[in-house]
Structures are given as structure tokens and as C-alpha cells.
């Protein structure tokens, strides 16, 4: 079997919910040995969040947890106990990375801050993921998916002008913070292997949003250039541009400006290009023109499915995409034929289908090797490797350390 890119990297993961677990999943997916450390008894909060397999709430059947934690080993440990702390420091001696997502200051209060970890391992990389950062006036504020987008992201410019600003779907902001944390961690691993020094990385939901190339950075530059804020714009105001209904749902086609010729070609009505109602870019930028054009355009679109229109639009050089539901996406042959979806067998949850590789590395492949760990699944294996005997481990269980 070919090697994986992060072979030989050991990660201690004391994160929960989404951002931290997605960061460590990306590390695990490409070969790092990730030990997920959970609170004894209850474990990661996401174990209590749905969706659940067959809608049956159960700590081993949370789809969110299964999705975010495959390829990791799992153990339980009470970091507040002296023994728990001692075990963590033993593990840190041979680890390359600690990823944590506690409130800022918590790790230090546990005696496990960057300085303490450096004492046992001078090359340790600590990746801290927080709401707003490890310092600064907002350090102790709480956040959520919507708040992070409101403060850091371009929410002020998302939605309709006459309505309230609108968040994005699901938990994309938390996932994005996780991906940024994996990138920062890989950068620090590269540096540690170059110069032997450790690192303490400070990532937050707030700052990741403010620096992500989904319009916000452009708007921030634009605001500097013009002293104006961006605002919410009505969709579809430009002729033949944006999301429109079709026979079985919706299709997004970019038909604005110089792409209009492709739209009328696709429609088989090239004469519309020289129609005095639509014949200049300026006219086609007017909302009234867009409505007028829709009286021709929508009847055309309603004759075809979103997949048919996707192909027709592409043939005419129009950037486009069908508006898929999760079902459409799952059934879509393109992703199936590329082998994207993964069947994963879990001892309690059974066989579930999960998302596959975010990217394909030809020499050092992504690999699905194990399902998400059950709570404390690898306690014995990991503690045995530190020299603990079976009866010690049983005693630690009884004491509630594990």
C-alpha cells in the first residue's frame, strides 16, 4: 500500500462539535494518527446532536459525529483529574500536535497550556480553535454559526435588500474554520520538521470568516477603495442571470453581460440578441428588462430538467449548475462514477454512507480506514502502549478518570 502524506504524525485531539473535529478528520484522512480524547461518560457534544441513524437518538448513532470522526482512534480521559492530566502529558511527549477548542485560557487552567506542553515536548504544535481568538476584547464572547457569519462574514450583503440579512446553510462556517486549522497545522508540521521548533496557532471562527474569499475580503478592500459598504442586491436583477425554475426544480445559469449571446443561442432564439429591448449590456442590467426577458426565458426553461439544462448551458459556454437537493447529489452519476461516496461499517451504527475525499493525492492517497470511534474504544490499546497494565486501566475506569 502506498504511504500517506501525514504518516508518522501523531495528533492529540481534545476538540468537540464541528470545527475542531473537522480539522483533525482532515489530518486523520491523510494518514495522521489522531487520538480523539473525550470526556468520560458523555463524550463529544456532537454525539447528542442529530441527525441520528433511523432517527434513534443514541451517542453512537449521531450522523454528525460519525461524519466528523472517522479515521480517528478514541479514548476517554478526565483532564481535570491529576491522573488524567498526567496521562495526557505522557501522550504529549510523543505527539506532534495537540488540537484544542476549549474557551481561551481553559487549557492553561488545566495545566495543559502551550508552556506546560512545551516542557514535556519542545517541538509540540498546539492548534487552538476558538470563537474570536486567544486574545483581544471579544476573547470570552460566545458565538454560533450565524453569529460568526454575521460578524466575520459577508452576511450584511447576503439576502434581499428589503429583508433581514440571511445566513448560509448548515454549518459551513464551522467546517471552514476546521479546514483552515488543518492547513495551519500542516504548515506548522512542515516548519517543525524544518527547524525543530514548536508552535502555538491561534484560529477563530471570526477571523477565518473575515479572511475567506467568499466576497468578504473583496468587500473589505472595496470599502477601503470607496469608503462605502456593500449591500444586499436583488437576485436575478440582471437579465438571464441567476437561479430560475425549470421542469423538475431549479437551475443556476450565468447569463449576464457578454454571456447573453450564449443564452439566446441555447434557447434557439438568436434574434433576441438584436431585439431592441435586450440589445445592450446597460439595458440588460435593468431589473425591468430582466422581468421582460423572463417572459421568454422561463417558458423555455420549464420544458427541460435541471440536468438537461446544465448540459445545454455548458454546451453554450455558460457557467451553470443545477440546484440539487441532497438526494439529487447522492444519486448524481458524476460523483458516483468518480468513487466519491464511502460505505463505512460502524459496530453500533451499522453501515452508513459518508462523504469521501476532499482531494485526490496520487502518490499519498486519502484513505477510509476506520469508522468513528465508540466512546473510549481505544482506551486499553492506547494506555497499554504507555505501559499501563490491564488492572490499572480497570482502576482508572472505576475512578472515573476514563
Amino acid at each position: 500500500m502506498p504511504p500517506q502524506a501525514l504518516e508518522g504524525v501523531r495528533v492529540l485531539d481534545v476538540t468537540q462539535l464541528i470545527a475542531g473535529p473537522y480539522a483533525t478528520k482532515l489530518l486523520a484522512d491523510y494518514g495522521a494518527d489522531v487520538i480523539k480524547i473525550e470526556r468520560p461518560g458523555t463524550g463529544d457534544v456532537s454525539r447528542r446532536l442529530g441527525p441520528f441513524v433511523h432517527d434513534e437518538p443514541h451517542p453512537e448513532k449521531s450522523g454528525l459525529f460519525l461524519h466528523l470522526n472517522s479515521n480517528k482512534r478514541g479514548m476517554t480521559l478526565d483532564l481535570k483529574s491529576a491522573t488524567g492530566r498526567k496521562i495526557f502529558l505522557r501522550l504529549a511527549e510523543s505527539a506532534n500536535v495537540v488540537v484544542e477548542s476549549f474557551s481561551p485560557g481553559t487549557m492553561a487552567a488545566l495545566g495543559l497550556g502551550y508552556e506546560s506542553l512545551r516542557e514535556v515536548n519542545p517541538r509540540i504544535i498546539v492548534t487552538s480553535i476558538s470563537n474570536y481568538g486567544q486574545t483581544g476584547p471579544y476573547r470570552d464572547y460566545k458565538t454560533s454559526e450565524i453569529i460568526a457569519y454575521a460578524m466575520g462574514g459577508p452576511m450584511h450583503a447576503t439576502g434581499l435588500p428589503e429583508r433581514e440579512p440571511m445566513k448560509l446553510g448548515g454549518s459551513v462556517i464551522q467546517h471552514q474554520t476546521g479546514a483552515a486549522a488543518a492547513t495551519a497545522t500542516a504548515m506548522a508540521i512542515w516548519a517543525a520538521e524544518s527547524n525543530g521548533h514548536g508552535e502555538h496557532l491561534d484560529l477563530s471562527l471570526f477571523r477565518t470568516q473575515a479572511s475567506s474569499q467568499d466576497r468578504r475580503t473583496t468587500m473589505l478592500v472595496g470599502a477601503q477603495y470607496t469608503n462605502e459598504n456593500s449591500d444586499r442586491r436583488p437576485p436575478g436583477a440582471s437579465t438571464a442571470n441567476g437561479i430560475r425554475p425549470c421542469a423538475d426544480g431549479y437551475i443556476a445559469i450565468m447569463g449576464a453581460a457578454n454571456r447573453f449571446a450564449g443564452v439566446v443561442r441555447m434557447m434557439g432564439q438568436p434574434e433576441l440578441l438584436t431585439d431592441p429591448r435586450f440589445d445592450t449590456v446597460v439595458k440588460r442590467s435593468m431589473p425591468d428588462t430582466s422581468e421582460e426577458f423572463d417572459t421568454h426565458y422561463i417558458p423555455f426553461l420549464m420544458q427541460y430538467t435541471k440536468r438537461e439544462l446544465f448540459a445545454m448551458a455548458q454546451k453554450n459556454g455558460l457557467p451553470s449548475g443545477p440546484v440539487f437537493t441532497a438526494e439529487d447529489l447522492y444519486l448524481e452519476p458524476h460523483f458516483r462514477e468518480r468513487g466519491f461516496w464511502q460505505q463505512v461499517r460502524h459496530p453500533v451504527a451499522g453501515e452508513v454512507t459518508q462523504t469521501g475525499r476532499p482531494f485526490i493525492m496520487n502518490a499519498t492517497p486519502w484513505r477510509q480506514t476506520r469508522a468513528a470511534p465508540t466512546l473510549g474504544q481505544h482506551n486499553e490499546e492506547i494506555l497499554t502502549s504507555l505501559g499501563y497494565e490491564r488492572r490499572d486501566i480497570a482502576r482508572l475506569h472505576t475512578l472515573g478518570v476514563l
Binding site: L64, Y132, Y141, I147, E164, L203, S211, M361
Partner: protein, 436 residues
């Protein structure tokens, strides 16, 4: 040339063939941390949407049709709009720009020479563009046997959608994101454009590049890395995807609601375009919330007694919440709630974010002087590293700005050759007259 020796990627050279957003975001992250990123551009072909929609932008158009994509300095495209386009300026700091027309033999020869000095080639074009230029991994690896090439098209290098074109907003549709966002009470055609897949692909692309660099250092071997931007983004929609694969349930949009916590929403505050967001996760936060807004009576109301009851009846709460928010500024409301442990925050517009005290504490914005755009603050680094002080170094690169460095220092071409390449439209700082 501009890399700083203490940065982790100092000494790594990237040839950057990227366009628009996702690819440039990826190379920006590598460049921020010390890689020398050389954008390989052409004065003969306009890359749509990368340095603007067109080279010859009518001077009055941006001011007439204001929008985030046309925020040129003072709304004026200027003599060289491509050096002032805000989308480009948002990622091009620290990078270098050289020009060569890769479609012609002399331009290709320049690229192949440069390739010998480079560690990575990164691109995010539709696959057929790279094939037509004959710069696929297979075609160029001989010149640099340990080459790492990262290709990140929308749908991958195989499959029926291989050569399909999608920008971020259409990719959001294909991946299922568009379907689960937007106003719950409005038709899906009323959803505006968002581009989150670009943000996602950029970050993951940099991650992929770092993994490949590590493998090369350990084994001496390069490789081709392929990212279908759609596949990179699908895992971000984990809850919706898993609910379908496990339970065959199709999620639709929840608007600004949370899938289980309530209340959550956006509330009108005192002022123009003044909004507060908040999320109440549990009974403790609910009690604190009611006390802060002076509505202890709600704690005794059976409609809101449990988390599930609050979720079902949260529409009834919106009016009560807005009565409280509408006489406060977003920050007054957010601070009062945060002081009692309730998650809340204002919707920050761009000028507010630039002046934000937390951003100030990070030193996030950095002033840079650009010869054709003037002196402005630019958004900075995605994260901080305690042992590795870092900040933005040079302003967004102008088209062809670093031709002298690349041609004369790196490739050691003679003055005569340089002059010929200028005359034949490879080297330059302006688009050819025929480029619209």
C-alpha cells in the same frame, strides 16, 4: 526576493496559473507564509473575472452600477483597471506577476525553463484549458521530475462533468448548498449568489500543497494532486448529507433558524441596517436571555418551557425580541446579552469590521501602498502563529510587475532577448490592443 527567511515556506517557489478566486486564495495562503508565488499571466488573453470582467472598463460604468465586484478606487477603473480590481487586490498581496504567452513556442519555452526552478504548479482552470496549453502534469513533469502539481477544477479531471464550468455560485447549487439556504418563505429562485465553495477550496488547496511538500521532502517524489472543488465542499454539508444517506430525509432551508436551538435569528435594531444575531442553546441561556430582555414572564409561559417547546413556538418570540432590540444598537444589545452568557453579535458591515477592536487586537488590517491604487488597509492573515511573527509584506502585484526579476534574475535572459520578448507581446505591463 520578497520572502522572509524565517517564514516556514521560505525557499519554496510556486508557479501560479490560477484564476478568479479559489486558486488565488490557495496560493495566497502559501505566499503569506513565505512561498514565492509567481503568477504566470498573459497580456494577450484576458482571464475572465480574475483581473476584472474586461481590460477596457468604461470609466463611468462602476459608479453607475455600483456593486462589490466593481469597487475600483474611487469607483474609477483608471488607466490600468486590471491593477485596481478589488477581487484581485484581495488575494494578490505578496505575490509576484510575470507575463508570457504560453500558447506560442517562445512563451512555452520560458514557462518550461521557469518550471525547472519551481516546486509547485497550481491551477484551477477548466481541465481543457490546461490540456490545450499542453501543461498537464504528464506533459511537464519530465522537465521537473519531482514536480508537485495541484489542479483544482470545479468537477475534477474525470467524469461527465469534467469540462463543465461553474463559478462559486453555481457550484453551490450542484453541491446542495443553495437548496438549504435562503428565506424559508420564498421561492428558491429568490436566492442570491454566495461563493462559499471558493473559500473552502482555497484553504484545502493550501493544505493539499503542504501535504505533498512533506511527502516530497521525505521521499524526493512529487505528485499530481486533483481537487474537484465540488467534492471538497460536499463534506461541509455533513448534517444534510448524512440525514439523506441514513434516513432518506431531504433538508430544505431553515432560513436563519438553527436545526435544534431556539430562539435563533436576526433582529432589527436601532439605526439604519442595524441587526443583531443571537442563538439560545439551552435552558441556562434561555433564563439569562429572558432576564436580560426584561421578560421574566416568558419563563413561566408553557409555550417556551422546554427547548422543544421553544423550537416549535419560536415565531411567537420574534416580536418580543424585536421590541427589545429595536430601541438598542446592535452592540448595546450584543454586549448586554454576552455579559450574561448569551451568544449574540451584530451584523458587521465592511467599514465596521475594518474599525473593529478585536481585529485591531490581531493587527489584522495592514496598510500597503500600491503604485496604481494608492495607500489603503488590506485584510490580513487567516491565523496567527506565536513563534512566527508575520504580516503582509508587499502590495497586490501589478500585471507583469516582476518581469525584470523573473526574466533577468531567475532565467538570466540577455537584454536583447528581453527586448525581443517585449516586442513580441510576451513581456509587458499592458494588455494587447486587441484584448477587449
Amino acid at each position: 526576493m520578497t520572502a522572509m527567511a524565517h517564514l516556514p515556506l521560505s525557499g519554496i517557489r510556486v508557479l501560479d496559473l490560477t484564476a478568479v478566486w479559489a486558486g488565488p486564495h490557495c496560493t495566497m495562503l502559501l505566499c503569506d507564509w513565505g512561498a514565492e508565488v509567481i503568477r504566470v499571466e498573459s497580456t494577450q488573453v484576458y482571464q475572465p473575472n480574475t483581473r476584472g470582467h474586461m481590460a477596457k472598463v468604461p470609466q463611468d460604468l462602476p459608479r453607475m452600477r455600483k456593486g462589490w465586484g466593481s469597487m475600483y478606487p474611487d469607483w474609477t477603473p483608471g488607466a490600468r483597471p486590471w491593477n485596481r480590481y478589488p477581487v484581485f487586490q484581495s488575494h494578490a498581496r505578496n505575490k509576484l506577476s510575470m507575463t508570457a504567452d504560453l500558447r506560442r513556442p517562445e512563451g512555452r519555452a520560458v514557462f518550461m525553463e521557469l518550471l525547472k526552478t519551481a516546486d509547485l504548479v497550481i491551477e484551477n482552470n477548466v481541465p481543457e484549458t490546461i490540456e490545450k496549453l499542453h501543461v498537464t502534469y504528464e506533459e511537464i513533469v519530465k522537465a521537473r521530475p519531482d514536480l508537485i502539481m495541484l489542479r483544482m477544477p470545479a468537477y475534477g479531471l474525470s467524469g461527465q462533468y469534467k469540462n463543465f464550468r461553474s463559478f462559486g455560485m453555481q457550484l453551490e447549487g450542484t453541491t446542495g448548498h443553495t437548496w438549504i439556504r435562503g428565506y424559508a418563505d420564498m421561492d428558491a429562485s429568490m436566492r442570491d449568489d454566495t461563493f462559499f465553495g471558493d473559500a473552502a477550496a482555497g484553504v484545502a488547496g493550501a493544505y493539499a500543497a503542504l501535504l505533498a511538500l512533506r511527502h516530497r521532502r521525505r521521499t524526493g517524489k512529487g505528485q499530481l494532486v486533483e481537487m474537484a472543488q465540488a467534492e471538497n465542499f460536499i463534506p461541509y454539508l455533513g448534517e444534510a448529507v448524512m440525514d439523506y444517506t441514513m434516513n432518506q430525509r431531504v433538508h430544505s432551508t431553515l432560513g436563519n433558524r438553527h436545526h435544534s436551538a431556539a430562539p435563533q435569528g436576526v433582529y432589527r435594531c436601532k439605526g439604519v441596517e442595524a441587526w443583531l444575531t443571537l442563538t439560545v442553546n439551552n435552558d441556562g441561556e434561555w433564563q439569562a436571555f429572558c432576564n436580560v430582555i426584561g421578560r421574566a414572564d416568558l419563563l413561566r409561559d408553557p409555550r417556551f418551557a422546554t427547548g422543544i417547546a421553544r423550537y416549535k413556538n419560536q415565531d411567537d418570540l420574534d416580536k418580543a425580541i424585536e421590541l427589545w432590540t429595536q430601541v438598542r444598537t446592535p452592540w448595546e444589545a450584543a454586549k448586554a446579552l454576552q455579559a450574561q452568557g448569551v451568544p449574540a453579535g451584530p451584523v458587521l458591515n465592511d467599514l465596521e469590521l475594518v474599525a473593529d477592536p478585536q481585529m485591531e487586537a490581531f493587527g489584522y488590517f495592514k496598510e500597503l501602498t500600491h503604485l496604481e491604487a494608492g495607500t489603503h488597509k488590506y485584510p490580513g492573515l487567516t491565523w496567527s502563529a506565536a513563534e512566527t511573527p508575520n504580516e503582509l509584506r508587499t502590495p497586490p502585484c501589478r500585471l507583469g510587475e516582476h518581469n525584470p526579476y523573473v526574466y533577468k534574475e531567475l532565467l538570466a535572459v540577455t537584454d536583447e532577448t528581453y527586448r525581443v520578448l517585449e516586442e513580441t507581446g510576451h513581456i509587458g505591463m499592458d494588455y494587447a490592443p486587441h484584448v477587449p
